[in-house]
């Protein structure tokens, strides 16, 4: 186990390095730059800016400098947001996104798993069909529609919760619902199909033949086998959701990290692009390791090599 984790960490470093390198060069090969705007900047000022941020040096040298600094934990200063370092942007905005996203993932898991089990157990009945229809709807409707409709109904029409910012806990309800909508639906469907598969297995028949009641055979014998696909999905889901959704954050004006991803790209804020990308990549890699270890704990047949 320890050996496996060490190996995975080594692999993770390589993965993150590849992601960082690709991003760095792709970003620089795209025409344009951080200081081009509609308002013409004098060539002199441009040269001064480029010199200040080291953008006048050959690309290779920029790369080496960036990587060396990054290895020392210095991700540079934002090119566009005056006086802010990339690190400070991430550390101030990530907790906001993580709270909203974490709650959304938790809700999706806690609702999706029981709903999927329930649906599978009542296969073919009206309730099952109803759950499938709702889940399909949840998968098909994009989050900006869900977010906008939620806001219109509950904030504008009914006035139950404030629509903007995250001042108290009620402000969390709508964005968390909007974010959780798709994963809940997806987990429900995933859980249902995997549960149906497990319910047809021979060992479930054995469980019944032993005299176990339906509840115990479901919770003990079926759930642990059926939850594996959901666990696989949870890893990347968690990584993506806690780093914030651009759309949901825009709709509910949440000062989260999601906006920075998109904003940094349209602003050509090179250092922020690099910083947020490396951060997301690291999270995804980390979550995958966590998923693999969780797999091993759930299913003893899986060998970690």
């Amino acid at each position: 186990m320890a050996k496996y984790i060490v190996k995975r960490i080594g692999l993770a470093i390589v993965t993150i390095w590849v992601v960082a390198t690709l991003t760095f060069f792709l970003m620089n090969f795209v025409p344009g730059g951080p200081f081009l705007s509609e308002k013409a900047v004098s060539p002199k000022a441009m040269a001064a800016l480029e010199e200040k941020y080291g953008l006048d040096k050959p690309l290779w040298e920029q790369y080496v400098t960036y990587m060396t600094d990054a290895l020392h934990g210095d991700f540079g200063a934002s090119l566009k947001q005056r006086g802010r370092t990339v690190m400070s942007i991430i550390t101030s905005k990530f907790p906001v996104s993580a709270r909203v996203g974490g709650l959304a993932v938790l809700a999706a898991f806690c609702i999706g798993v029981p709903l999927g089990c329930f649906s599978a157990m009542n296969r073919g009945k009206a309730l099952d069909s109803f759950i499938i229809v709702v889940a399909t709807f949840g998968i098909a409707v994009p989050s900006f529609v869900v977010g906008t409709v939620l806001m219109y109904v509950f904030s504008v029409r009914l006035g139950w919760v404030s629509s903007l910012g995250l001042k108290n806990w009620t402000n969390y309800i709508l964005p968390v619902t909007a974010l959780a909508f798709y994963p809940t639906a997806y987990i429900t469907r995933l859980m249902r199909s995997s549960m149906l598969d497990v319910l047809g297995q021979d060992y479930m028949r054995t469980a019944r033949a032993k005299g176990l009641n339906q509840i115990i055979s479901l919770f003990k014998h079926a759930l642990r086998n059926a939850i594996l696909p959901v666990v696989t999905y949870m890893g990347p889901l968690l990584a993506y959701t806690v780093t914030g959704s651009f759309i949901v954050e825009k709709i509910f004006t949440i000062p989260g990290l999601g906006g920075e991803f998109i904003g940094s790209i349209s602003n050509r804020d090179y250092t922020v692009i690099m910083g947020t990308t490396i951060f997301l990549a690291s999270l995804i890699v980390l979550m995958n390791v966590v998923v693999d270890i969780a797999y091993k704990l759930i299913d003893p047949r899986i060998k970690l090599k």
Binding site: A209, K210, G211
Partner: protein, 332 residues
Amino acid sequence: MSEYLVNIEHERLSFFTPAGEVKALNDVSIRIREGEVLGIVGESGSGKSVTAYSLMGLTAYPGKLLGGTLDFNGHRINDMTEKQMQKIRGNEVSIIFQDPMTSLNPVFTIGNQIREVLKLHTDKSKSEIQDRARELLQLVGINEPDRRLKQYPHELSGGMRQRVMIAIALACEPKLLIADEPTTALDVTIQAQILELMMELKDKLGMAIMMITHDLGVVASMCDHIAVMYAGNIVEYGETDDIFYNPKHEYTKGLLRSIPRMDSKEHERLVPIEGTPVDLLNPPKGCPFASRCDQCMRICLREKAPVTHFGETHYSTCWMNQKAELEGGKRQ
């Protein structure tokens, strides 16, 4: 209490599927005395397993009992609720399945799965349960029980897993053990070991066994009585010797012709039974075997044959047995 441990009379059971009503059992009657071994033989889909499962109440949805009575160990199975059935299953009647590779839950240890059934049906303490689990593994011939109890199913071989299944089935010393093709998925040497083990345990514990198989060799060596099933009917029933030496149904005769014999001449060919099993969605009006039978007569296609008795237990439903009478009747 009646003289029989199991007494199934005129059981009719259908599965209501989207394609229609599948008549899985049409008038099945079976009796087993305490400590007796009954073999049920027949091809796939003949209703062997359904008969056994219905005795355990495991045919619910889309299966539906349409008629007949099922008595087991003083219980009228027909009238029992699911909750009452749960008290019997794994306790008074146990089952071992065909495929030991998939019948154990892969994510729990062997020990967990054996202890589970003991926890459910006995009020033994934790340490007593552990002792009993160890004892059971030794009973089914597994060495180093302490180590094995901590292992997962995938760490054991097929034969070993079937032994574990037997240990689970015998945990509460059932009155009846249903063995649903217990050796089909195992290789030949292991088959023999498992059968031997079952017979040994039967003598030791005095339980009855319902042995479901399509291997005539297995029933010949083990069973007191044999029921031959075809398309949801018992076509012939009798003591093992009756069935092997004095078969009275054309299907039984066909089955016996299709197995190799020790005393056969060198180049004797096996005779297969031609044709395909009947479609239980639309069972034929007459004898279900008629379309595949060499001796088929006109009446076989029109009407079901009545039961003809030969001696105390031996009976068969074949028009051939009525032939003499019928022809005699015509002449008069």
